[in-house]
């Protein structure tokens, strides 16, 4: 990986007609679990380091650009979290109304905050966090055309990225360790299966909407129980072929922002519909201060026969405080309750700039009243944690 990094550096600097843009951050992260572990071998706390360099070089008056973003995490306790990834290594070419992106890239689709249903292009870097916002770089050819009638994206996704899972020492894992060396696929092409996707986006005044279609390997794994080479019981991931249709829509009506995401997913095993919808309403300058308070409410539902999703009948309520101060202080607090099972998840995120180039972030995650039947969450019920990260940006 390091060699690759210097190789990238070499390519990029050799193009240097225009200035090379170098940025990124180095961060130290401390995580402390407040309860004793549910499973053997799991850690109680951990101090890790991460490094995220970014390089960018453009030429041809900005119509061509090479961008590279790498990610490294050093972790002494969790071997699976000690990892490196090429988040981005792509060539962008712009020609009139058309854009081409070729290489490894990351794409975000969707509008809601509590979960990201339609966002299907990239695999989640699960060991980095459970909120779905850390993603593995995806190899692709991505064509975009911008027209009066809207924006159309076409994707050819050349190769599949397996999700990352914690080692035995890791917290926020399943009762059994996932053995990715035995991963199986529905497609005989396995991880070299080529996936396709289309997305159409349009802005109609106060409303933005998008329709999407994806055909290929499911980013979510299903699991079977098996044995690893030492005879230990493990979970073996299985990736199906799916077709997924998605809709996302956001509308600003007065002071309200209304949001909806909806998917329909078909596979050999099942077929289901899921949706998340809600609103965001912001109170500006509360109590005569410069602080804005955004309130969020979202409801999630799905009709999957097998109870496999976390968000099957769940209500999310959140509050976002933007202090609008020199240090850009922000606090986001969210609460999710499963209406059927009463399981609760509480999360508070806060961040503040220190000086010009440091940033301190914190995250508190609590699991409360987790129902024994609430399968994915049951495994995390003793994994309440407090996380602090100090990052230096350059």
């Amino acid at each position: 990986m390091q060699r690759l990094f210097f190789f990238c550096l070499l390519i990029v600097t050799s193009l240097s007609a225009q200035a090379l843009d170098y940025s990124g951050n180095v961060a130290a992260e401390l995580i402390v679990f407040t309860q004793s572990a549910q499973f053997d071998q799991q850690m109680d706390d951990n101090l890790t380091l991460s490094f995220k360099p970014k390089l960018r070089q453009s030429w041809n008056e900005g119509n061509d650009e090479l961008s590279v973003e790498l990610f490294f995490r050093g972790d002494n306790q969790d071997d699976e979290r000690q990892h490196a990834d090429i988040r981005e290594f792509k060539w962008l070419h712009v020609s009139g109304n058309d854009e081409w992106r070729v290489g490894i890239d990351s794409v975000f689709w969707g509008v809601t905050e509590s979960q990201h249903l339609v966002d299907v292009i990239n695999q989640i870097d699960l060991v980095e966090g459970i909120d779905g916002e850390d993603k593995l770089g995806q190899p692709m050819i991505h064509y975009t055309t911008i027209q009066d009638w809207g924006v159309l994206h076409a994707f050819v996704l050349t190769g599949f990225r397996e999700a990352t899972f914690h080692a035995e020492q890791g917290r926020l894992r399943f009762p059994l360790v996932v053995d990715t060396s035995q991963t199986t696929y529905e497609s005989s092409d396995e991880e070299s299966h080529i996936d396709y996707a289309l997305r159409f986006e349009r802005n109609l005044g106060d409303t933005d909407f998008a329709l999407s279609w994806f055909d290929g390997t499911n980013r979510d794994a299903s699991f079977s129980v098996g044995f690893d080479q030492d005879g230990q019981t493990v979970l073996i991931p299985f990736y199906q072929q799916i077709t997924q249709f998605g809709l996302d829509l956001q509308s600003i009506i007065g002071d309200w922002i209304w949001k909806l995401e909806m998917i329909h997913r078909n596979s050999e095993a099942d077929s289901f519909t899921a949706a998340t919808g809600g609103f965001e309403y912001t109170f500006y300058g509360i109590a005569g201060s410069a602080i804005d308070l955004g309130t969020l409410v979202e409801y999630s539902w799905e009709d999957r026969a097998v109870d496999a999703g976390v968000f099957d009948n769940d209500l999310f309520a959140g509050a976002r405080f933007a202090f609008n101060d020199v240090q850009s202080t922000e606090v986001l607090a969210g609460f999710i309750v499963d209406i059927d099972k009463q399981s609760q998840s509480i999360r508070v995120e806060a961040s503040r700039r220190l000086g010009e180039s440091w940033k301190l972030s914190g995250e508190l995650q609590l699991f409360n009243n987790i129902d024994e039947e609430d399968l994915p969450l049951q495994a995390f019920k003793r994994d309440d944690y407090l996380l602090l990260e100090l990052a230096r940006y350059f």
Partner: protein
């Protein structure tokens, strides 16, 4: 909204020939005419780009800075479109904001968050909120459309070595943080020289001064330095503008939410 650092546009009020035609015009009619003439003077710039260095200073003298690149596209018959790209502080580098400004209607606004590569449509109601923790509110930096205010010519007086119109502007849009503003606009080229901002309780809140005006393409004036002093909290913010370029060939496609991701 961040966009076109407004003020300067408005500044350019005033029609030289005006006073000659004075029939029995009211102070309000004169004020509106000056605002229209200022807008007309600056019309036809097509597009421009510039770099902005923003320095925040608190009462103790501690400073903090931001670097932002601005691109603006002139839109005839509506507010302008603008893009702001953040280079500093380093933790927000790559963040970009796109604004379609409108007269009295709320602006359309999108934000690109590079950490998660997400383009987010945001509410533009936050007119009176501070921009990046500075003493400039969003409404101070937004596109200055004629219909955003009602006007009144208060007087004419010397402003430094120039002669200025002194106008009172009362915001006509919702959620302004101001009851009224007094603006000094030079008679020669409609440059905004100074503005006093009165809060909703009608108490003096801030004073803006603009200087080091530079002329581009032999016509369009833009300030090299703007300073906003808050009289109530003792803080101030200075904007240093550089690399003004007009008619750079920007197109509609450079101002779409879908192209925010590749804004540079």
């Amino acid at each position: 909204m961040l966009s076109k650092y407004s003020i300067k546009k408005v500044l350019m009020v005033i029609l030289l020939g005006m006073p000659l035609v004075v029939m029995a015009q009211t102070a309000e009619q004169k004020g509106l005419q000056i605002a229209k003439d200022a807008k007309a003077y600056d019309a036809g710039f097509v597009d421009f780009t510039a770099n902005m260095l923003m320095t925040l200073m608190n009462k103790k003298g501690d400073t903090s800075s931001r670097e932002i690149r601005i691109k603006t596209l002139e839109v005839t018959g509506d507010g302008d479109k603008s893009m702001s790209i953040f280079d500093q502080p380093a933790d927000v580098k790559g963040t970009a904001m796109l604004t379609y400004s409108h007269g009295l209607e709320p602006d359309d606004q999108w934000l690109y968050l590079p950490a998660i590569k997400r383009v987010k449509r945001i509410s533009s109601r936050n007119k009176s909120g501070p921009f990046m923790g500075s003493e400039f509110a969003f409404e101070d930096l937004g596109s200055q459309e004629i219909e955003k205010y009602s006007y009144k010519l208060l007087r004419e007086e010397a402003c430094g070595e120039m002669q200025c119109y002194v106008l009172e502007r009362v915001p006509a849009y919702q959620y302004s943080g101001y009851k009224r503003q007094h603006v000094w606009i030079d008679k020669q080229a409609y440059r905004l020289i100074k503005a006093d901002f009165y809060d909703r309780k009608d108490e003096m809140l801030k004073t803006l001064t603009s200087e080091d005006y530079q002329q581009s393409l032999g016509h369009y004036w833009r300030p090299g330095k703007m300073q906003m002093v808050n009289h109530q909290n003792g803080k101030s913010t200075t904007l240093i503008w550089s690399n003004y370029a007009f008619k750079t060939g920007l197109s509609e496609n450079d101002f779409k939410s879908q192209t925010l991701k590749r804004a540079r």
